[in-house]
Amino acid sequence: MAVQTFKLPKSLKEGAKFSFCPGCDHGVAVRILAEVLDELGLTENTITATSIGCSVTIYDFINVDAIEAPHGRALAEATGIKRARPDKCVFTYQGDGDFASIGIGESLHCALRGENITAICINNTTYGMTGGQLGPTTLLGQKTTTSPTGRNVEYYGYPIKIAEHIALCDGTAYSARVSLDTVANIKKAKQAIKKAFEIQMKGLGFTFIEILSTCPTNWKMTPEQAHDRVRNQMMEVFKPGVYKDITAEKTV
C-alpha cells in the first residue's frame, strides 16, 4: 500500500504555475508558506498585503484574500487590516528592498507597535524584478548593475542585518533568519514560519522571518551555484538563527 509522502498544499490555487525564474527560491518559500497555512487551517481566515517586486505575484498563487500595497507599505496596510479585523490571520510577503529599504519605517514601527502580524522577507541581496540593482542587503564586494565594481563602503555604505534589527524591537515576539539552500534548511524554514503564525494567532506580538534566498538570474549563476553562494557568502554575514522568541524565554 503506497503512502503519499508529498502533495501540493491545498492553499495553492489549482493549477498554479509560478512565474519566477528557473531555480529561484521564491517558489520554495511560497510553497512552504502554503503548507503552513494548510497545516494550521488558516487559509480561509487569512488576509495578506503583498509588496512590490517579484514577491507581488504571490496573490496569483496562494488562494487567500489579498491586497496589493504600494512599494514598502505592506506592513502599514497589514496594520490597517489587522486593526480593522483583529480575528484574521494577517501576513505580508516582501522582498528585502520592500521591507528594509523603502519600507523600513513601516517595518520597524509595525514591529515596535507589536502588531499581531507575520512578515516574511525574502533576502536575495538584490532588486530582482528590476534587473539586479544594489539593494539594502547587497553584500560588500557584490557586483550588481548599480555597483559595477562591487559594493564599497565609500559609495554605498553597509548592508542591513534585518532579523537582528527587528529582534531589537520590544514589540517583536519572534524574529528568525532561515535559508532554503538545503532540504534540511527548507524544513527548518517551514518550522520557523509555522511558529511565527502560531505566535501571531496567540496574539503575542510581531513575528518576522527573513529567508535567505537566491536570484540565479541576476547573480548570473546556476541554481546550484546560487545555493553555494548562500552558504559560503550570505550566511557569513547574515547568520541563520532565531534572534528573538518570547515563547522560548517564557519556558526558561
Partner: protein, 356 residues
Amino acid sequence: MECLQKTKKKVLMKGNYAIANAAVMAGCECYFGYPITPQSEIGEFMSGKMQELKRAYVSAESELAAINMVIGACSTGAKAMTSSSSCAVSLMQEAISYASADELPIVLVSVMRGGPGLGNIYPSQGDYNQAVIGGGNGDYQTIVLAPSTVQECVDLTYKAFYLAHKYKNPTILLADGLLGQMMEPVEFTEYPYPEIDNSSWALSGAKGRNGRIIRSYAPLAENQCVFLNKLYGKYKQIEENETEWEEIDTEDADIVLISFGSPSRNVKSAMKICRKEGLKVGFLRPITLWPFPSKRIAELSKKVKMFLDIEVNMGQMLKDVKLAVNGAVPVEFFNRPVGNPPEVDDIVNKIREIMK
C-alpha cells in the same frame, strides 16, 4: 473632549472637533493619523474616543503609513479615515492613486494651510488642485466635498463616508485652517445615510470561496483599457448623480460670484450688500469640487454678463470655472494668495469696479 451623540440643541464646537465627532457618529471604525497643524485636534479627539469605543486608532509613523493603513482597513470593508493638511497630503498622493485603482472607500480630511512647501499654518485654498486634480499617477478622480461652515463640516463628513462607500471611491473632505480652528454652533443628527453592503468585495478571508485580490497591477495593456473605461463609467455616474452646489439670486443676475469653502461666506455677505445697492449680483458655491457644477455654470454663462471667481489662492478653481464658461462671457478673478478670506468691503469694491 466628550463625544456628542445626536444633539437636540446646537452646541458650540471647533471645526476640527466637529469633523472628528461626525466621523465617529458616521460609524468610522478606524482612524489612522499623523499630527500636522491646523488639523491636529482631529487626531487628538480620535485618540481618546476610538479607544473608549473599542474602535481602531493608530498614531502612525508617517502620513505615508497612515493613509496606507486606511487602505488596509478599507480593504476589509471597514469605514476608515485619516486627516492631514497640505504638505502632508502631498505624501499621500501615491496611496490615493492606488486606492482609486483598487476602488476603495478611503476618506481623507484635508484641512488646507499655506503652501507651497512648508508654507505656513494660515488658512489657504491652495490645495484645490491637489484634491481635485491630484498628484498621483495615472487616470483617476477623487470625490471632493468643500464645507463652508462648521455645520457643513459635520454634514459633509457624513456624506463623505456615504459617497466613498456607495461608489467605492476615495473621498476628500476639503476644509481649511479657518474652518478647522473656528468655533460655531452645530447640531449632530443621526448618520442620515443607508449603510452600504460591501460583502461582495471586502476581504474577509476566503471562506467557502476563492481568494479575492484587490490589485491595481495589470500587466496587459488591454486589461488596463477595459478597467479604465469601467472606472470612468463610474465617474460619469458620480457626475450625474452627486454634483452639488448652492445658488442664490442667479435668476436676474448680471454677475455671478463663484467661491467655495470658508471664503464664500464673505462673498455671500458682499453679494447681499451689492443687492441692497441695486446691483444684480448672484452667487454660486460649488459644494462638490469634483464633480464640479460645470453644467450649471455653462447654463448660467448663457444669461449672465460675467462671473467673478474669488479664492484664497492664485486661481486654481478659476481654471474649472473658465472651462465651464468656455469663453461665453468674461471671468474675473479676485483673491488673497493665502490667509484669511478677502474682506467683504474689498469684495464689494471689486464688484462695483468690474460692473462699471
